[in-house]
């Protein structure tokens, strides 16, 4: 031990009194065309961040083809009535802006950031992409070919293979059961599929515009009215969807990757959405289980046993349903040992009340990191967008911390028993079957697939 003189306290200093967390003022408006607008000022740098979201994504059109909303968002930035692709990209650079367009299961979004002094031209371009995308045929063909290569590459990623299989197992025929198109489905995309999605999704009634940054709210609101005010369009009609699968009993799904030198474990079960009254309880229970560095799972299989580098658990809230999942990439020899510990920690949380000091630490953790989102423009933007897109109450940000701090050991015990469904956990392992099959099958009936999804 290398000791240097120590004259300081040998105990960690106590926390000093807390300074209050003040969430910035938000201005919410709905334009006459239905566009919902939320603005907040944040002056740390002379820039702003924004997001134009549409409340429809890949799940809404999966019956036409998986990934269609994503493909629509990709091609939407490649040309408008006024600008060709190259012009769009150069104009963005000319005004120092970044822009992305993409779609998830439930939402399509155009994200953007730029210099405050050049806000108007950036808003103008976002408006063009949202209203006047031209979907040029050659750009569509190029992006489709590009997507084909991406889809092939995805199937070489252990984490992708794991989440694709888990979603299929948990959601079955429900649109959430498919996370990506097959190669044949990509080849089957037609340009008119995209323009149809564009017409249905990209409307002001279906949209939310959130902006955070170095601007004056009333002035920015006038710019937004001027830019987006004349836009018109209705919300797409809601669609009925199949019920998700409800898999019972622990089952194991092995995705065989010959030559894999490590095994990706991903286990999961159905849980809840952000709108559910138990959301904050499950958040805290998760943070204590495997959602923080200091959590039980990380302490166990990383810091004590050294099985893995980055174990974690999380609650994945899609709009209609949510699911809880646990992931760890472990060395091949300890697949069974890792799963044993994963279930040990789950069952312990379901059986024994969390000691009050440990719970107090977890409460402080979750309420503390929640306010970190205040400190950057895009952090605040993402908080505001999450609240609005999930129809959470207006005081969600202000009351979150006190709700976390009110939770008791009995709340966590009840939450773990209700949602950390150990007995019906679905277990995906991605790795070389010759190394791991015997270990994996100890945990339930086992099916084996290849990376393309075929049963072996």
């Amino acid at each position: 031990m290398a000791t240097r003189t120590a004259q300081l306290p040998t105990e960690a200093p106590a926390l000093t009194p807390e300074r209050p967390v003040t969430w910035p003022k938000r201005t919410k408006t709905r334009l006459s065309n239905g566009l919902e607008v939320i603005l907040a000022e944040s002056h740390a740098i002379p820039k702003f961040h924004g997001q134009l979201s549409f409340r429809s994504g890949n799940a809404a059109v999966v019956d036409r083809a998986p990934g269609l909303a994503e493909m629509t968002a990709t091609v939407a930035r490649t040309g408008t009535k006024q600008r060709v692709s190259r012009q769009i990209e150069e104009d963005l650079r000319r005004i120092g802006a970044d822009l992305s367009s993409s779609a998830g299961a439930d939402t399509t979004g155009i994200g953007f950031a730029g210099l405050s002094e050049l806000a108007d031209p950036l808003l103008g371009l976002v408006n063009e992409l949202a209203r006047e995308a031209a979907f040029p045929e050659p750009e569509f063909e190029r992006e489709r070919r590009q997507k084909l290569e991406e889809v092939k590459l995805d199937r070489t990623q252990p984490s992708f293979l794991a989440s694709e299989r888990l979603r299929k197992v948990l959601f079955g025929a429900h649109p959430y059961g498919i996370v990506a198109p097959s190669e044949a489905q990509v080849l089957g995309y037609k340009r008119t599929d995209l323009t149809q999605v564009y017409q249905e999704f990209y409307t002001p009634e279906n949209a939310l515009l959130v902006m955070v940054g170095d601007f004056d709210v009333p002035a920015m609101m006038r710019s937004i009215e001027k830019t987006f005010g004349a836009w018109a369009g209705k919300k797409p009609a809601p669609k009925a969807t199949a019920d998700p699968a409800q898999p019972k009993g622990r089952r194991v799904y092995l995705v065989h990757v010959p030559g894999a030198v490590q095994t990706q474990i991903l286990a999961g079960c159905h849980a809840i959405t952000r709108k559910h009254p138990d959301w904050i309880k499950i958040g805290l229970t998760n943070s204590l289980y495997g959602g923080a560095f200091n959590s039980r799972l990380v302490m166990n299989i990383r810091e004590d046993k050294g099985y893995t580098y980055s174990p974690r658990s999380g609650v994945n809230p899609l709009r209609q349903y949510g699911y809880f999942s646990i992931s760890a990439a472990v060395r091949n020899e300890v697949v069974a040992a890792s799963l044993t510990e994963i279930f040990y920690e789950l069952d312990k949380l379901r059986s024994v009340p969390v000691p009050e000091p440990e719970l107090a630490d977890a409460r402080n953790y979750l309420s503390g990191i929640f306010s970190m989102g205040l400190a950057t423009q895009d952090g605040l933007l993402s908080q505001l967008a999450t609240v609005a897109l999930n129809d959470l109450p207006d005081d969600y940000l202000e009351t979150y911390r006190e709700k976390v701090r009110a939770l008791k050991p009995a709340d966590l015990l009840g939450t773990a028993r209700k949602y950390f469904d150990s007995a019906n956990m679905q277990i995906v392992v991605v790795g070389d079957r010759t190394q791991i099959e015997d270990q994996a099958k100890l945990f339930g009936d086992l099916e084996v697939f290849d990376a393309q999804g075929n049963t072996l």
Binding site: M1, A2, T3, A6, L8, T10, E11, A12, P13, A14, L15, T16, E18, R19, V21, A44, I45, P46, K47, S85, E89, L92, R93, G96, A97, D98, A113, L115, L118, R142, Q146, K152, T156, Q157, P158, V257, G259, A260, V261, Q262, F293, N294, R302, E303, D304, K305, G306, Y309, A329, R331, D361, N364, Y365, G368, I369, S371, M372, L374, A375, T376
Partner: protein
Amino acid sequence: VNHHQIAMEYTTLSNGLKVVVVPDTSAPVVTVGLYYKIGFRLEPQGRSGFAHLFEHMMFQGSANAPKMQHIKLINSSGGLLNGSTHYDVTNYYESVPSNALDRVLWLEADRMRALKVDDENLRNQRDVVKEEVRVNVMNQPYGGFPWLDLPPVAFRNWANAHNFYGDFADLDAADLADVQAFFKTYYVPNNAVLLVLGDVKADEGVALAQKYFGDIPAGPLLPFADAREPEQKEERRGEVEEKFGTLPAMAIGYNIPERRTTDWCAMALLDQALHGGRAGRLYRELVLEKQIAVEADGGIDDIFGYNGPTQMVTRILHKPEYSAEKTLSAFDAVIGEIQEHGISEDELQQLKVKWRSDYYSTLEGGRGGMPRYGLMHLLACFTLFDNQPQLVNSILDGFLAVKRDEIQAVARKYLRPANRAIVFRAPAKVSAKEAA
């Protein structure tokens, strides 16, 4: 132009510890960083990967905060923490509600004063690091490409050319004596900078630094190994087999000018002309126009964060129907175009606006949910490399002063075959087919 300015307090304690405080009371959050001027470039020979393994050991216990206490004390204060190993620095950083500032400084001082780890901790973290290497490199398509593939081809000095994540044999050979020797040599106050950014007053920040770190004795600073490279005379090439991926790939790295020179500023804008997203010439030509490549990106990684030989690297994944040579000649045509014609005044102006905008984002941006990481990183590197944290307020000027002919001149001077290295990473199956 009156740019965005950062107000700071900069001082050096009597033991040589540099301290930078940047007050900002807009949120009750503070980010603390401890940067040591040692990274994987100058780790001991025969101990590849050691600087990074050592970084893990810094979370394994110190005199008054045994294993797990450090992490627990930060998390339970409502904070996040991490560390990372770079070429020339290693950092440890925390973001916490500002009422935990004393506690964070006490923890960082405790582990600077006395690391307390045992064989069990070392075995444990060696296992963790191996899984980190597997998940990021050995079990990933294009894992480590090109950041681990290119250096052994591009460089001749071991410092720049070795495996920074570590050969497993070297990780296995590392023992506790290595850990304590490395700690005593490099983890001394006179080889470090402490950064405190956020909800703190400047004089309070300095006083707290003095309180917690002031009595840690300075170490005898060892001379650092010479990381200079012998002059390169011809193009260098290498091959690596891709085990999982479906597309052939290549990476082309050019040695770049010495940092903080006029050429370096011009090179940075040239880099943006080539690699600046979808408007960049390489993406436009190879992906959008000629449609040879699926990905074409790269550039000078972490341009303010290194202090030794480095490269501007282009990373290309191309369609299998185009050969590597054909892809490379399409790349060369893009380079040749700039060498011959330079860039227009309009393009240069676009590059400068984007550079300024990106720079502001760097100053404001966080990392892993932790605010002010970007500003902290720049302040730390400018302090350790230049003894001038104030460079964050003036470094932009050099880039905004670059002229068109300077861009063309650096393209001609540095983007020569004899100044580059290329690594081809072809999928195993494709190589076998070509061989047959």
